[in-house]
Amino acid sequence: MTVNLSKMKTNILQRIFRRKAWRSLGLFFALIGPGIITSNVDNDAGGITTYSLAGAEFGLSLLWILIPVTLALIIIQEMCARMGVVSGKGLSDLIRERFGAQVTFYLMIVLFLANLGNTVSEFAGVAASMEIFGVSKYISVPLGAIFVWWLVVKGSYKSVEKVFLVACLFYLSYIISGFMGKPDWGEIRSALLTPQLRFNPPFLTMAVGVIGTTIAPWMQFYLQSSVVDKGLKADDYQYTRMDVIFGSLTVNIVAFFIIMLCAITLFHSGIKIESAKDAALALAPLAGKYCSWLFAFGLLNASLFAASILPLSTAYTICEAFGWESSLNRKFAEAPQFYGLYALMIFLGAGIILLPDMPLIPIMFYSQVVNGVLLPFILIFMLLLINDKRIMGRYTNSLLMNIVAWLTVAALIFLSGAMVFVSLK
């Protein structure tokens, strides 16, 4: 019997060990999810358009701005992730509990409009990228909407996350296409390390645009909720921080390659473009057919990816703020507000693209303005929340972190204010 017991014990140990090895790999992926996914969604259709335009119009002169943008993104996202881990609550939940129903209500309306605008531009991205492959938008956009709906409603959380992580890998297409442009690295390094500032409105507007498209209001809500959904605890925080930093770096590496590619091809040949689609088409004679296809494929991937996440994130955020049932595990009748908001976002987002004579460029433009108006409020709320001892306990910002964070936020507020001002003038 004793022999038997000790054998049993080895068996248990083996089993636990086997599970553990498997699990730590799983844990690694589980922990790196939120930051990377959030950051990559950030390189959406609007982002790619902005980066293409920045490269095509101003060459390499805006490349340096990605360094401060990366730092700002890390600072802001780190705070969000920390709040999620420490409080175990989403951002809209915290805002509701701390600042009350009235503030939350108006904030959610503006967030809905801003995110709707973003969703429209994602479907515009789907339409534009598929047109490069010769597919009409009347086919690609409805198919895209059905794909998004099916993926999220029919798939389980795990399968959706796998699809998202694969989508992140597809961003490599921009890095490959960047190399296909045969860059001169010496010139690029000096452009990256020597900041240039030109005090003319188009240059400044573009600089603000690059920053604005990288740090968007919805990301803070999405990142914090996904950290909470993972059930991460304070002990896991170091991994989450690595995840956030890694994500912020990858997003800017992709941005770097897009700006660079457009600068060394389109800018050098003096080609004027107005959209990411123009950029992809113009790349064909300069860098080859495959480079153009890769660029278009990257745009399609980014647009679909963001179109899957934005409506979902919006519905979650709003339902969380108002205490409505919000879960894909519920049936429609159990969570009508959640599915209603989700369906409305997809329906309007895809529908607006299909209307003939829809002024798409102004719509995207004003959605950027709404984002710009919203961002300062959210950043200030975040700073107040993260310094609230009742919520954060001993995980509030340190003095140094507070100085850095407030300076970053002040700079971002100034820039988004400037962007709103310039846009509306």
Partner: protein
């Protein structure tokens, strides 16, 4: 004292907060910041008003009894220095806005987690009772200040009257304050919920509330709830507990579930918990841990009834009566020989209707449906469907009984795939 010309019987918290308190000459004294209430059964009553004076920054408490309501104005006829006190809560008191407004609560009647939009008070004599929690859209609109416009709009254009969505305080369990959860079991309204509903609620809460709610349950409810919770959350709940407390709860769970849970825990934690358990239980769990979770060996429990063929129905009946409470499966009695070879099966119904002196060997059915230790869940499910059984015994190559798979345990493994 002025007589209320228009007695308002019900009051909303949102109509009280931020209101000014005036003296008898209509001079403003201060603003109402919050209400303190004594959390008694069935309805909490308001004891004090947290008042922010115009003259000083520090807020203080003023007894609610001192305030009269004249035409919707809050009046203190004469403020004496003895009326006010430091804002320190007494035993059993909470600040209502702080702990309830905009926070999550559980509606134990509808088994849902909801967010409080407003609180609804009943004015009875000179006291204010908390009777309802407003969780509806109209409450939200009231807070935003758009309730009236919305009502008028809906009535004019859609002929629709916006109704209040009020839930009686009797069904509300607050979550935000640990004190409210630590109330006596009788007062902890969560124990009224079915464990399956409780598990759904726990899954919906954030990790800290989840732990707080779970630890407020009594051992038996906690075990039943844990059984219904998804494995990932089970692990996180148990990881937050002391090994001794965790082992008390796990002991109450059916063996196979306990084994699955312990197998999912980190190694050291699982060992710590096993060490706290009685040796037989721990040994049974260890035995089950050896088998892969997806196969028959991992699905089975070792807690079932087995008898030698010579035992009589009466003796078996006495044994069942004594032990039934601690056994996972009581609906079938398995007949085995000295070496635990499976000989036959008797249903509880057969046993109940049999004369007490008959031996089990005469009662038993010898054509027993059983599965091997490595049978996959799909095939086991087919067996259940084909033979319409409540449980199937698991045997090794030599037909020795190793355990029993209960239909419910299999269902949990198979059910997620049914709808797809």
């Amino acid at each position: 004292m002025a007589i209320n010309s228009e007695p308002q019987v019900f009051l909303f918290l949102s109509r009280i907060l931020g209101k000014r308190i005036v003296d008898s000459e209509d001079r403003p004294l201060g603003k109402i910041m919050d209400l303190a209430a004594s959390m008694v059964e069935p309805y909490p009553y308001v004891t004090d008003v947290l008042l922010c004076l115009r003259s000083s920054k520090e807020p203080f408490f003023l007894p609610w009894q001192r305030i009269t309501d004249v035409n919707g104005k809050f009046v203190v006829p004469s403020l004496m220095s003895g009326d006010i006190r430091e804002p320190i809560l007494r035993e059993g008191e909470v600040l209502l806005k702080d702990t309830l407004l905009d926070k999550q609560v559980v509606d134990t009647n509808g088994a849902k987690v909801l967010r409080v939009n407003d609180l609804h008070f009943l004015k009875a004599k000179n006291s204010l009772l908390l009777v309802h929690v407003d969780v509806g859209f109209s409450g939200l609109m009231r807070r935003v200040g758009l309730e009236r416009p919305l009502r008028i709009f809906l009535r004019w254009f859609f002929d629709y009257t916006l109704s209040h969505q009020l839930i009686s305080w009797m069904f509300i369990q607050a979550l935000s304050s640990p004190d409210l959860l630590r109330l006596k079991v009788a007062q902890n309204r969560l124990s009224r919920l079915h464990p399956a509903d409780l598990a759904d609620i726990i899954e919906e809460l954030d990790i800290y509330k989840r732990t707080a709610v779970f630890q407020s349950l009594d051992v038996e409810t906690a075990a039943e709830t844990l059984e219904e919770t998804n494995p990932k959350i089970q692990v996180s709940l148990i990881e937050d507990m002391e090994p001794a407390e965790a082992s008390d709860i796990i002991k109450e769970m059916p063996l196979s579930e306990a084994a699955d849970l312990l197998g999912d825990l980190p190694k050291e934690k699982a060992e710590d918990i096993l060490r706290e358990m009685e040796e037989d239980f721990a040994e049974d769990v260890r035995e089950l841990l050896v088998h892969p979770e997806e196969k028959a060996g991992g699905l089975m429990t070792t807690s079932f009834l087995s008898f030698l063929p010579s035992v009589t129905a009466g003796e078996a009946m006495d044994f069942v009566r004594r032990e039934a409470e601690d056994v996972d499966l009581v609906y079938y009695l398995y007949v085995i020989d000295e070496e635990e070879h499976l000989l036959g099966v008797i249903s509880l119904r057969d046993l109940l209707t049999a004369p007490s002196q008959v031996s089990l060997s005469e009662l038993m059915h010898t054509r027993v449906v059983s599965v091997g230790l490595n049978e996959k869940k799909g095939q086991i499910a087919d067996h259940f469907a084909k033979y319409g059984l409540l449980a199937i015994p698991v045997v090794d190559e030599t037909n020795k009984i190793k355990g029993v798979i209960i239909f419910k345990n299999l269902l949990e493994v198979v059910a997620p795939q049914l709808g797809k």
